[in-house]
Amino acid sequence: MRIGVVTFPGSLDDVDARRAVRLAGGEPVALWHGDHDLQGVDAVILPGGFSYGDYLRCGAIARFAPVMTEVVEAARGGMPVLGICNGFQILCESHLLPGALIRNDHRTFICRDQVLRVENAGTAWTSDYETGQQITIPLKNGEGGFVADAETLDRLEGEGRIVFRYVDVNPNGSARDIAGITNERGNVVGLMPHPEHAIEDLCGPGTDGLGFFTSALAALAQAS
C-alpha cells in the first residue's frame, strides 16, 4: 500500500511521516506541493511544519498549493487523508474539516509528551486503537487552539467526530479539550499532536503513534 506525504515549502515532519509509513509496513511516496499529481497513492498525509512560513494564517497559503486540488478531490472521494499539526490546519483551511486553529491561549509554544484519549476508533486512521484507550505522543505547536462555533462543536460531539481529546491538561486552550477530529465519512482525520514522532522506542515517548499508520494500511487492505 502506497501512502503519499506532501512536502510544502516549510514542511518539517515529512521525512518522519514517511519513515513512520515504512515502519508500519507501507510504501511511503514523496509528493510535491507544486505538482498536480498524487502519483497513484492510496492515502495521503499532510505533515507538520510551517508551510509557506505560516504567512497570513497557518495553512492559508498551502490550501491553494497545486497538489491540494487533487488532495481535496481524493478526500471527497473517500481516500484516507491524515493532517498532522500544520496538516490539520491545512485541512481546516481547505474546509475538509470544520473549525480553525488559533494561537495557544497561554501565548507560548508548547512541546511535551501529551496524553490523548481515543474517542473514535472507527476512522481510517484509528481502527487499530480502542475507543477510550489512552495514548502518549508528542505535541509541539504555537497555534493549536481548536475553535468552532457552539453549533459545530455540538454536531461534532453528537456525530462522534471528535477523534481525540487531551487528557490531564488542555495544552493550548482547545474547545472542549479537542485534539483531533474527523469528517462525516471518517476518512479524513486531523490532529495537532504528532503520531509520527512516537513510532520507535529509541526516540520519543514510545510507539503509541504507530497505530495511525497500521490502521490506514489495514483500511486500505480491506478496501482492495
Partner: protein, 80 residues
C-alpha cells in the same frame, strides 16, 4: 489608480492572544487607561479603478484568502 483597504479582525467571541499580550504590556509602560486591545490585519490592494466589479472581486478575495470566516470578520473600503 485607487487603493482598497481590507481590514481583518478576529471575531468578538474568538480569543485574541496577541491582543491580550499587547494589552498586558501597556501597564508595564505606564499606560493605564486602555481597557482592551484586539489585534487584526490591514491589507492595502492597489487597483486601476475601484468600481463595483473590482470591489465585488476584492470582497471575494477577502472571503477566500485574506480572512478565515470561521474566526475572522472583514471590511472593505476605498481609501479616500
Amino acid at each position: 489608480m485607487a487603493r482598497v483597504i481590507v481590514d481583518v479582525m478576529p471575531k468578538p467571541e474568538i480569543l485574541d492572544p496577541q491582543g491580550k499580550a499587547v494589552h498586558g504590556a501597556l501597564p508595564r509602560l505606564g499606560f493605564d487607561g486602555i481597557t482592551d486591545v484586539r489585534q487584526g490585519k490591514r491589507f492595502e490592494l492597489e487597483v486601476d479603478e475601484a468600481d463595483d466589479a473590482t470591489l465585488a472581486e476584492i470582497r471575494q478575495i477577502a472571503e477566500t484568502l485574506l480572512s478565515n470566516p470561521v474566526i475572522e470578520d472583514f471590511t472593505v473600503r476605498v481609501d479616500a
